[in-house]
């Protein structure tokens, strides 16, 4: 009966997706021109902003991949509604690969280890760098490792995307065993690869500073970005068929619960890092927070505590809010903005002792976001919003029953 119903329905993305894609492309191109001008006028600022924007949008891409794998391992109807949104987001990986190339040309602007060692004034740091640049932190290693990370992610994206596309055609199939076999080890490999990538791309900005919590903060931030992004998109799509039929308050409720969980875990990781370093009070560790508590950066930190944790946390406790996709989407959009602020707080204080926000920080993030969204919309429109021939997707169309 449900099979018959699913075949009657048309799951193609509404035309609004293409409209958003076109507009995003226009905005992205305009800001990209501004950003390129900035790259020639202020190359230093440009590359700092570029890394920030890149990590922000990479987060949505990889977070979607990780989330898809989590859903393949755990099961659950909540994930079927947003599965095609996640797949469209993770299929932006080729774009992120292209966008990574400029970083390779900006290494000396971003990383002290990529500069000639004679220019490093601090004697201890210079000695440390002399050792570590020979073995690990050098441009060749950076490039080779980046290729490995992207290759791992590309393999996961390729197979998960391909297998999902097979469900667009008959016969009705259950391939959950196969996706599970890839996703379970995939999640472990993903967590390790994003950890190493974070060390290379962000933590190595200050080569003497080490935190084992840092990659986890990035990892959970990426999952949060992806969940928030899915909520925003499903809210826009829920005004049109077929999402208006697919999306039920109980699914929005589940997505809200995920967001609440990520907000809490993010706060837990971020605070743990502070607490451990505060308790240790070692010169090579506490410098990270010494800089972020002073020079005006402390206000950014406080802003994060209040608006990335306290306010979303209190709002997400509300059951009616989680079940109302429109209101939830506003909160999710806000969380996406706060993801940028969090990354800004992680990256920019490394380059400036006093508070500093350049126009390029915003312009580059918007340019990248515009291009990313255009690519995402192209991906989303290219496939139906529900895999009609996946046996598990059928549950999305069933009316909700009492109990569990």
């Amino acid at each position: 009966m449900t099979t018959a119903r699913s075949h009657e329905m048309n799951f193609l993305a509404p035309s609004v997706v293409r409209t958003i894609g076109t507009r995003s492309l226009v905005i992205g191109l305009i800001f990209a021109v501004l950003a390129i001008v900035g790259a020639f006028v202020r190359p230093g600022d440009f590359f700092h902003a570029y890394l920030l924007g890149f990590m922000d949008w990479l987060g949505v891409t990889l977070g979607a991949l990780a989330f898809l794998m989590v859903r393949h391992v755990t099961g659950g109807t909540w994930g079927m509604v947003i599965q095609r949104i996640q797949i469209a987001a993770m299929r932006c990986l080729p774009l992120m690969m292209v966008l990574f190339i400029p970083i390779l040309f900006g290494l000396p602007h971003l990383y002290i280890w990529a500069r000639p060692l004679d220019t490093v004034a601090d004697k201890h740091l210079r000695e440390h760098l002399q050792e570590i640049t020979q073995t690990y932190l050098n441009p060749h290693g950076f490039f080779i490792r980046a290729v490995i990370y992207f290759a791992i992610w590309a393999v996961l994206v390729f197979f998960l995307s391909k297998w999902s596309a097979e469900h667009d055609h008959p016969p009705m199939r259950d391939t959950s065993a196969r996706t599970k076999q890839l996703s379970a080890p995939g999640l472990v490999i993903f967590a390790l690869s994003i950890g190493f990538a974070t060390i290379d791309w962000m933590m190595s900005i200050t080569p003497g500073w080490i935190s084992t919590m840092y990659p986890l903060i990035i990892l959970i931030g990426e999952l949060m970005s992806a969940m928030a992004f899915c909520i925003v998109i499903e809210s826009i799509l829920s005004r049109y068929e077929p999402m208006s039929t697919m999306l039920k308050p109980s699914f929005a409720h589940d997505h809200g619960k995920w967001t609440l969980a990520f907000v809490m875990v993010w706060a837990y990781f971020s605070f743990s890092q502070l607490l451990i370093m505060w308790a240790g009070n070692l010169p090579e560790e506490i410098t990270y927070y010494y800089r972020r508590f002073n020079g005006g950066w402390g206000y950014v930190g406080l802003f994060l505590v209040v608006f990335q944790f306290a306010v979303p946390f209190c709002l997400l406790l509300s059951r009616p809010l989680k079940r109302d996709i429109r209101r939830l989407a506003f909160l999710a959009a806000w969380i996406m903005v706060m993801r940028w602020v969090d990354l800004y707080f992680m990256i920019e204080p490394n380059y400036s002792e006093t508070f500093r926000l350049t126009w390029l920080d915003i312009v580059v993030a918007v340019a990248m976001g515009g291009l990313w969204l255009a690519f995402f919309c192209r991906n989303l429109a290219s496939r139906p919003l529900l895999a009609a021939y996946d046996i598990h997707a059928q549950k999305v169309l069933e009316p909700v029953h009492g109990g569990h």
Binding site: F271, L275, W278, A279, N281, G402, G403
Partner: protein, 178 residues
């Protein structure tokens, strides 16, 4: 004795879907003093009998805030007023170190408020309840669902209410002696 000898009328159902539908219709028919009993929590059931909010959440919130202030206040008082001690050059008001105890006391006070607030608001422990006078009611812990219309309801009328409950198609209807 003005107290009614009948506590209410009890209708028995076989499944969660049936009792949810029956409870909705009973509520829609204007009965307000009704209650439902099930072997496991049925999420839609409490909505169906028109039960919206309870004050446990508020009690927990107040308990949590008191716990939070107690935890932080205690440490602030100890470290800044009673025994100011220089620990590794950190400020006396070493707020990151205060967080764990503050968090734990918030949780502790919230949980205790939840347990005792719940007991106080739902009137437990309750040694006697009229519904247990009905012999069939013992099946509520196994596989049966029961809907009760209390005799204290304004719309309650022995014959009319019985006829109404009969129209819901229950397995049986029993009087509950008080």
């Amino acid at each position: 004795m003005n107290e009614p000898a009948i506590y209410g009328l009890m209708a028995e159902f076989d499944s969660a879907d049936e009792i949810v539908a029956a409870a909705r219709r009973t509520h829609a028919a204007g009965y307000r003093k009704i209650d439902a009993y099930s072997p496991y929590p049925v999420e839609e059931l409490w909505e169906a009998i028109g039960f919206h909010h309870n004050r446990v959440a508020l009690v927990v919130l107040i308990g949590g805030i008191i716990g939070c202030m107690t935890g932080y206040g205690l440490q602030y008082w100890v470290a800044n007023i009673a025994y100011p001690t220089n620990i590794g050059g950190r400020p006396f008001h070493s707020w990151p170190s205060f967080m764990i105890v503050t968090f734990e006391l918030t949780i502790l006070f919230s949980v205790l408020s939840a347990v005792f607030g719940m007991l106080a608001l739902n009137g437990l422990p309750l040694p006697y309840h009229p519904v247990f006078n009905v012999e069939r009611f013992s099946r509520v812990t196994e596989d049966k669902f029961f809907l009760v219309v209390f005799s204290s309801d304004e719309k309650y009328n022995e014959t009319e209410t019985r006829a109404f409950l009969q129209s819901l198609g229950p397995k049986s209807i029993e009087e509950v002696p008080s």
